[in-house]
Symmetry: D2
Subunit: 313 residues, 4 copies
């Protein structure tokens, strides 16, 4: 019987809440609903133990992980599963590179460090990666900060026999997944795209940040898809939606004889679930790669990432 993966996590936001609760849910129910891969190299969905957690907010630090995941501004719902105290107390995360040693010490006993903090602080992400190197732990970067794309860093993980997975998590099922699938379908069937847009509404802290600081790369990413006729409306932060995202997609196209084809889609989904559904695969992949001594970037991770090594920083 395979041993559970031992995971440390940076960031105790909605995504971590979804991941922690979900693992507990699947372990206690045996359900496989919503699961892409029941087994990754022998590890099941419930075969994960959290052994350390780092956060910055006073409302979370010092609390048991199973309590901290419900502290505001987290607003992912309580899943239907009983959570007993985890025994893991949330530690203060690092805010300065001088603390790398402290974090490395705290990582002893972990196999994987899941970096699930907000994007935008590359220096902090790098510091945690250094701590992982020091502690001999695999590193999974879910943010858009360039860590796995940093070739010298990747090389050092490889040499140390430590897996490094990243960057920028692709959600299991979100607006982009649906939008791309429909645009691809149009193309396959020979229809000609006239125009398309996407409206995203949500109520998480992440959403608020993105609404206030629009991601300038997002439009260009859509264009890269070959769809220069796809427009993004500004994100709408609507607090009452909590961790739900509502998206409206419109696609106007032309078929035979230039007659009109219209598609209007409304998608409703829990954003943190989309992240957890992918994180569960990445941490199992990282843990099993570590155990078999495969350092560096495991190419099986590519489908789950928006910016794997080799893509532009």
């Amino acid at each position: 019987m395979i041993e559970n993966a031992k995971v440390a996590v940076v960031g105790v936001g909605n995504n971590t809440s979804a991941l922690v609760q979900g693992i507990n849910f699947y372990r206690s129910t045996g359900s496989l609903v919503g699961i892409q891969q029941p087994q990754v190299n022998g590890l099941g969905v419930g075969d994960i133990d959290f052994v350390a957690a780092f956060a910055l907010s006073d409302g979370k630090v010092g609390k048991d992980l199973h309590e901290a995941i419900f502290a505001p501004p987290n607003n992912f719902p309580r899943l239907d599963t009983e959570l007993r105290p985890s025994g893991v107390t949330v530690q203060r995360g690092l805010t300065d590179v001088t603390e790398i040693r402290r974090v490395a010490d705290a990582l002893r006993g972990s196999e994987v460090l899941l970096y699930s903090a907000p994007s935008g602080r590359t220096d902090i992400a790098e510091a945690y990666a250094e701590a992982a190197l020091l502690a001999g732990v695999a590193f999974v970067n879910t943010t858009s900060d360039p860590i796995a794309r940093d070739l010298s860093l990747l090389e050092r993980f490889q040499e140390a026999g430590l897996p490094l997975i990243g960057d920028d998590l692709a959600s299991q099922f979100g607006t982009s997944v649906v939008h791309k699938a429909l645009l691809r379908l149009l193309q396959e069937r020979g229809l000609t795209l006239v125009s398309s847009y996407q409206v995203n509404l949500g109520g998480t802290e992440d959403f608020r940040n993105l609404a206030e600081n629009p991601d300038s790369k997002k439009q260009s990413k859509l264009n890269a898809l070959g769809a220069d006729r796809v427009q993004l409306a500004p994100l709408g932060y609507l607090p009452h939606l909590k961790s739900q995202k509502i998206a409206y997609l419109n696609i106007e196209a032309q078929g035979w004889g230039e007659t009109a084809v219209s598609l209007d889609i409304r998608l409703q989904v829990h954003d943190p679930s989309g992240a957890a559904g992918v994180n569960i695969d990445l941490i199992r992949l990282a843990a099993t790669a570590l155990r078999s001594g495969r350092g560096g970037y495991p190419t099986e991770a590519a489908a789950h990432l928006k910016s794997p090594p080799g893509t532009a920083v």
Copy 2:
């Protein structure tokens, strides 16, 4: 320079209107909008000449093809293209097997017979297939009547060096195409389907017939897709929609932690355009197969057919 394909058509309904107008449109504009395959074995979209047409209604027989395609109950819109008289007078279609000889004589000079009458009269479809055999013409069956699935018939076409394509046209872009693509996407991403339904509204004569005589096979076809949780609401015949189809799809699923994922889609499309966009490929395939002496069923047609040879009758 390749010669135009010479096509005879049975049935002068909306699908034929869309096909005839569209070919004229593409030939005069050079547009490639809405076209899946600009060239099929060297034949372009405009490289089709209609040389004979058969219909049954008094409002169509005896008229020029370019006039008959607008006779009621046809209600496909007039495309933005000038139609001069075609020189092809619509002939009375056969209603009795004794007329096979007459039809065969009328087919001399054609390369392809496109059978685009309403489904449900297998005896009539077979009679036209016999006429095609007699006249040495390829046969394309767009109806759900079993013609290409009739193995003895297929064998006779093969021996005669005549292509036989069918059965049951798969629309270029319709409700099923979108529904299947989204259900497949769900599955690929590991989501679990909870329930799904499909509502179809339309205003053509075909739609009226289907609404009054529901296709009992349709639900089972959807089930065959592996989606026994997909329900079909009864078709709604709404005359004011004319040749437009409006479909509502709903998909309820569960993702990570059994959290809810909802997709609501509204699709608006011209049904006859979806048929014409596929017929254009089938007749070019049939004509070029005939010219190169390839009798029987050309496997390239499979993607465009719901019930190719080998599937259940």
Copy 3:
């Protein structure tokens, strides 16, 4: 302090389930959510006691009312309220006019008889009305059977000093309410209606009956609204929806310069809640009218009925 109204009910379907559960819910929580009239002549929403109930199915007769309301094919959800045994055992309803006397005896002690059986059995509805007359009890007819519109019956209730309310309950909030409000809005603002349609999907037994036996009057009722351009698509019975109704409305109109205006609406609602939200007012009205000796039809009921006395049978 006013005494609770004493109510007997015919029919233990979803509507009765919603009513019985809801009264218990409002009584125990003090909530006023979803309530149109907190007080009707001094009676609050929770001031109702059920004292008798009649049903026909073996799965319901002989059971406590609080158990019978959950027997199949009922599928209205369990509200978040604890239901202790009601002490009311469901009696076998009448199927023959010879049983009027038995029912009348069973009604002793009631103030109001709420007739909430399926529409379409006028003879049965009349027999219950006769029993109410015999027992000196007010009568509320929620079905489309003509009871309050039967002038001789109405006169007899009036002479007996007994209230008679009917016919045909208008839901508190359903497809028609929304559709009419939007069509009226269009008219008020000077827009010109081009076309409109309505699609209704549901999963109750009532819905199945209506889907199999379409109500021929329904289209004419819509027309009476002055909207001869409004089409009804056939009802779709989708069992998985249970007591939820999903409706799609479309309105196409023209404004200034004949430019297009489009409205697409999706409505999701629990049908039985719409009935209960109106029944609660009708039974309070009937009970208080009875107490003050007002026989016949109380005009305050008109807003809640589709076919009050004086409208066509």
Copy 4:
């Protein structure tokens, strides 16, 4: 027979394009489609002559009015009506109060000055009002700048026997009209609002301005409606929509027993048509009030204005 109203207009944007084209359309076709009031005090929809026009952009000044209304960034569609040269050359609008006299001279012969420039330049709006006073012309302010709400200005128009109508045009049919109607309907039927939001997408220059400089008052206006649970998502400027506006509304409510009621609405409408459909009434009202010597604010205008005299500045 009544004489046509003589109208001067400030601003040659989309709203003026819709108004000018529409009047010509209705005059030539006799259509009454989309018209709220066929007659206002004897003036029909086509009984308007434009006699002067002012604009600032080089692409419009010096051009015939019937040409200038199609100059970019205007993108209201061409209506199906032939426009011969109007004989009215667009004059340069004022940018400085020293030009009031020039404008007043240019207004001789007009009965009504329609002020249809972008909102936000109260000084300019006031200067045009002064010119109207000087020239003895009625004034209609469609912007949110406080003109009719300026009591001393209103008094001066009243004393001069000149009508003054404003401020802030309420569209004939737009997102707010539909949203308010549905929220009111909910309230009338006793449902309890849980949450609601509104998303607006459009492609006009006005829309771009509003998207870049959000109207801080808009949320508070919605709140004033009594619906503090209504959220506005940020406006989305999507150029390809041109003068069309697409709005998504969502309303979540609770009915009987706190069961859920959901309404999702998609509205598609031409914004400038909504403005023209109201301007046509205001200018006819202003012209006929002037003719009968009724100075000041005609109360019949109230239904068409968001901020009539007496409301807060």
